[in-house]
Structures are given as structure tokens and as C-alpha cells.
Symmetry: C2
Subunit: 128 residues, 2 copies
DNA sequence: CATTACGTTTACGTTAACGTAAAGTAATGT
DNA sequence: ACATTACTTTACGTTAACGTAAACGTAATG
């Protein structure tokens, strides 16, 4: 049951336009098979698309996300290359952990405002 | 000791260009005082800039970040407005929590790759 | 068999977020 | 006095990430 997808199926599922999907292909971030002229997407293509959109939500550029997707392959190379690769992974981790910290602060700020809101709301309701 | 900052001081501190700071002002996201023609930034301005850059790191647009900064003021309005506001806060929270989930998955993926890397490295080193 | 639905390519348009360059002003050191 | 340094405004340029429109193919459906 190796399912496949049409472009509009994927567009519907991820709530994006077909233009966006074609754009990603145009730039080399997707390479679907073809049935004649029509694009046929495999589950692997679908996964790639999901990773791209995940990166986008986190403010990564398409190139940055593509880099990360490449990293997810089985690591190859000699000792030097592997060591360099591990360094790169570490840099990415630092970057993502910074985002985590930013998110925590933002969410805590949001909670503070919400609490103030509830107080203000209680005051408004009680002043009748 | 109400310190103030010049534009290049802030640019240096946050590792951005003065053009970027002027651009934010041009678009209304900053409103520094002036000493003659020169811009003078208060600690409050500096905080605004920090919030803007934090939003940027998380992939928010300047408008989205500006909205959030506005939210941080003391909540005002009648009951209806406050209730609407609380809903908006909830929506923002959902958005940010999605980003948190995305980050966790990405970081765990990174850890997996790194582990594979160390295995590959051990194999390379041992195959002498 | 015409129409509706879905797909295709090609190509120009748009927006956000700055970059870059020119040309001028104001304070500061030598 | 003058050169350097930091700041200013104005204005055009650039890039990523799509939007939008035209013009066409194909396949199923009433």
C-alpha cells in the first residue's frame, strides 16, 4: 500500500497553495515523480514537505531547512569530515536552543499579561 | 543613572546595522528622542529593540512582533474587549506552543544524527 | 460531446526587510 | 584650521518566498 499523492491533495493537507509546492520543486527542495506530465508525490516527498514547513514555522530559510534535511541522512565521510559534521550539529543545536529560550520568555510574558487581564476583568465585573 | 545609547552603540550590542535600526524607526517600531538631529535611545527603546529581535529569531514578522509588544501594556477596555483580548492571547499561545513542539522534534532529530555520527566515527577510528 | 475539474508551463508582479551609495552636517582631536 | 569620525537624510537596489494571470492539456462526467 505505497500510497501516493497529487499536488492538490498535499496542498489541502498542509493548507498551502499548489504554487508553493511547485515553487519548492523549482528551487530543488522537492523532486516528485511524474505520470506523464503530472506530479506524483511519494510518502517520502510528503515527509520532505513537512520538514520544510516545520522549518518555515521556526523562521528558517528554505536553504537552512534544506541543509538540515540533508543532515538527516546517514552520516558519511572520513574522520575529519565526521568531526566537522558534529561541530555543525552543535552549532545548529545552539541556534535551536536559543529559540527555545526565546519561546519560554515569550510564553511567560504572555501568561503575565493574561493574569493581568483576568484581574482587570474581575474589577470590571465587580464594579456594578 | 538613566543611561542612554547612540545608534551605533545599540547596533554594536545587538550585532545589527544602524540601517536596520533606522528602518525599524521608519516603520514605526521605534521612536527614539533626538538631541538636535541625533537619535538618543533610552533603556525602554533598547528593550523594544530586544523584543523585536527576539521575535525575528522566532520567525515572526515585524508587525506580529509589534502586536505582541502592544499586548505587553496594561490591559484596558470594557468586559467585551478584555474577553476578546484573552482570546487573542490564547491564540498566540497556541502558535508559540506549536513552535515549541517543532523545536523539540528538531532537537531530538539532531541528537539522533549526532549519535549516528559518533558511531560512524568510532568505526572509522577502529578500522586501522 | 461540451463542460467542469484538475493539472501543466511561462512569465511577470508583489511584499517584507533590509543593503548600498551619495551627499551633507556636527563634534572632536591635532 | 582642518581632517577624521560619527551621524544624518534621501533614494534606489536586492533577495526570498511566493501571488497572480494567461494559455494550454487531459480526463471524467452529466
Amino acid at each position: 500500500m505505497n500510497k501516493t499523492y497529487s499536488i492538490s491533495e498535499l496542498a489541502g493537507e498542509f493548507d498551502i497553495t499548489t504554487r508553493t509546492i511547485r515553487f519548492y520543486e523549482e528551487k530543488g527542495y522537492l523532486c516528485p515523480k511524474r505520470a506523464g506530465t503530472r506530479r506524483i508525490y511519494t510518502p517520502a516527498d510528503r515527509t520532505s514537505l513537512r520538514l520544510i514547513l516545520r522549518g518555515k514555522r521556526l523562521g528558517l530559510t528554505l536553504d537552512e531547512t534544506a541543509d538540515m534535511i540533508k543532515m538527516y541522512g546517514s552520516p558519511r565521510g572520513n574522520q575529519k569530515q565526521l568531526e566537522k559534521f558534529i561541530v555543525r550539529i552543535g552549532e545548529k543545536r545552539v541556534e535551536l536552543e536559543q529559540k527555545q529560550k526565546d519561546l519560554e520568555v515569550m510564553l511567560s510574558d504572555l501568561s503575565n499579561v493574561e493574569a493581568k487581564c483576568h484581574v482587570a476583568l474581575a474589577n470590571v465585573v465587580n464594579s456594578n
